[in-house]
């Protein structure tokens, strides 16, 4: 009885270990499959025209996504202009100042905001900017992505600032340096890599967002000459091409997806090299 119980326990031990291993493989499988198909379908559809030409009309072969690539970068620049200052300064407040109670509520609200579905942000900015401005615009697209960046950047900035040893601050105070100067010249400088990492990861995250851009940036088949006009973006273009019935557009969608994924993964992998020391590592799960 005791012996068979022992065997049963040993068996269960091995069985459960193998089962969890199989589950880990199952988690990795989709990423491998997505990579494989993007390489097969996407990379083969890529050519020089993809980067330099505008989309062609239905039925015409070729064309590219030059405007969407540029559009995505324009949107990201606007998003950074809004999200980075607000997020970083807010993060400084959370880490360096403030009563714990207020900070608890700010953190809590930021965490809740991070869970707000991206489509919701889209209709909020639609009501806020698109209706008053009588039309979709690049500006509205930039604002919605910037708003989404704020809570992300704020939390990662706070996290990396708290990794800066208290001794650094105390040493500066002992020298009679003002608190704000201590923060700007010592704390921020020490944590700079971490903050940059957090900002880059937040940018990579919003670069792939489609839902909030559907009604704000809208998309554009040509160039955008002014920020009050609709603008193209890679994710929007992928979506529009993917749900279209044309094979040539499907190929373009794969190529766009390949470029977008490379962009996002390059940032994600790149920051790993930036952040090999402890002071520069925000909680990557935040994003």
């Amino acid at each position: 009885m005791i012996v068979s119980n022992h065997h049963w326990r040993r068996f269960k031990n091995v069985f459960m270990q193998s089962l969890t291993f199989v589950c880990a493989l199952l988690v990795v499988l989709p990423l491998v499959m997505v990579f494989y198909h993007l390489l097969r379908e996407g990379f083969s559809s890529l050519n020089w025209n993809f980067f330099t030409q505008l989309p062609k009309a239905v039925g015409e072969k070729g064309g590219g996504m030059a405007n969407a690539i540029v559009g995505t970068f324009i949107l990201l620049i606007q998003a950074a202009l809004l999200g980075v200052p607000v997020g970083v300064l807010g993060g400084i407040y959370l880490s360096e100042y403030g009563g714990t109670k207020l900070n608890w509520w700010i953190r809590f609200a930021a965490d809740i905001l991070n869970g707000v579905p991206s489509i919701t942000w889209g209709i909020v900015v639609y009501a806020l900017m698109v209706i008053p401005m009588h039309g979709s615009s690049a500006l509205a697209g930039g604002v919605v992505l910037g708003m989404m960046m704020i809570p992300l950047v704020m939390r990662t900035t706070e996290e990396v600032l708290q990794l800066v040893p208290a001794g650094y601050r105390e040493a500066a105070y002992a020298l009679g340096i003002a608190k704000w100067k201590t923060i700007v010249k010592i704390v921020l400088r020490t944590a700079m890599k971490g903050i940059v990492t957090g900002v880059l990861l937040a940018l990579a995250r919003v670069a792939g967002e489609t839902a909030p851009l559907l009604f704000t940036a809208l998309g554009n088949l040509g160039w955008t000459h002014h920020l009050t006009e609709p603008i193209a973006a890679i994710p929007l273009q992928i979506f529009n091409y993917a749900i279209s019935p044309y094979d040539d557009w499907h190929r373009q969608a794969w190529a766009g997806a390949f470029v977008l994924l490379m962009l996002v993964l390059a940032v994600n992998v790149g920051v790993r090299f930036l952040t090999r020391d402890r002071l520069a590592k925000p909680n990557s799960r935040t994003l």
Partner: protein, 317 residues
């Protein structure tokens, strides 16, 4: 932080400190401005529809833009069902993977796997949707669905024909999207379980799995539950990938092989074409419902995670 010696500071320094403090405070308070904006803009947009339909909106089955009559039930149904499917698939897989990563995997394998899972979390929704339409759905249509029909066909969920895009496909793609989140939060939770807990169980002669089950999993139950609820919050709001594989038909049927529609995807599809007064307002109200549900779920998850481990586990998103 350090208020000592304030009286000795020259006036200009005090001024600089004050300005910087107020500046950063203003930026931190922007969070509350965003919260207020989201709530008020959605409520304002939904006012007309709320006035017209009242609570009936939430239980009405009709979504009829032609006759200007709107009910949210098919979308609430679709959102709940697709998220439920996603959880059924994702929860066991994610928790098992987190257990494997913290308790059982050989050391050299842990870091690469963690990086892989983080990269999966970074894949944009629209790319998974593209892969879903052209690779996953055809595969499901040819291989998995017929098999389910023959083996589990006695259940109403797996009856009838399918055309590819359907509720089950949406559930599976959402599962793929929330697995990395649940896994990494669960991993963090398991890592915060004190080593002493495990050693005590080993000392009693437990096998590795028994240690995991008795000392680790039951200890971390509440935190793991928080991780799952956080995943649910994500699943409810998932938009692009779902829109691309769910088939987009507002209907309430038992079969998971039939197309469905979710709150997020109907907004994504119809908002730009919504004309008149009531139609956009009804879509705003759907957004308000979606916001309400996800916020409640997220608050619940955050509270669970915050009370589980205190400072050891950093707040999750």
């Amino acid at each position: 932080m350090n208020e000592a010696g304030t009286t000795l500071k020259p006036a200009s320094r005090q001024f600089g400190d004050r300005v910087f403090r107020w500046l950063t405070l203003a930026m931190a308070l922007a969070i509350f401005v965003l919260v207020a904006l989201i709530g008020s803009e959605l409520a304002l947009g939904a006012r007309l529809s709320m006035h017209q339909f009242g609570w009936h909106f939430l239980v009405s089955n009709d979504w009829d833009p032609v006759n200007d009559f709107y009910g949210a039930l098919p979308f609430i149904f679709g959102t709940l069902v697709s998220s439920a499917i996603a959880l059924v698939i994702a929860v066991p897989i994610s928790i098992a993977t987190a257990v494997y990563l913290t308790e059982l995997a050989p050391q050299w394998l842990r870091q690469p796997l963690v990086i892989f899972i983080e990269l999966l979390a970074a894949v944009p929704s629209v790319i998974l949707g593209l892969w879903g339409i052209f690779v996953m759905v055809p595969w499901l249509h040819i291989h998995l669905f017929p098999w389910l029909r023959t083996t589990l066909g006695f259940l109403p969920f797996f009856q009838g024909t399918d055309y590819g895009p359907c509720m089950l496909a949406a559930g599976i793609i959402v599962a793929i999207m929330i697995i990395p989140i649940i896994t990494s939060v669960a991993r963090e939770i398991l890592r915060s379980v004190p080593g002493l807990q495990r050693e005590a169980a080993y000392a009693l002669g437990a096998t590795r799995w028994e240690v995991t089950r008795i000392a680790v999993l039951s200890y971390a139950k509440k935190g793991l539950f928080g991780a799952v609820i956080l995943g649910l919050g994500r699943a409810l709001g998932e938009t692009m990938a779902v829109t691309m594989v769910i088939g987009n038909a507002p209907q309430i049927v038992a079969s998971l092989f039939k197309p469905g529609y979710t709150l997020a995807s109907v907004i994504a599809n119809e908002f730009n074409e919504a004309t008149g007064q009531l139609y956009p307002s009804a879509l705003f109200e759907l957004g308000l419902v979606l916001l309400g549900v996800t916020v409640v779920v997220n608050i619940f998850a955050q509270l669970l995670l915050k009370t589980f481990a205190g400072p050891a586990v950093k707040p999750q998103h």
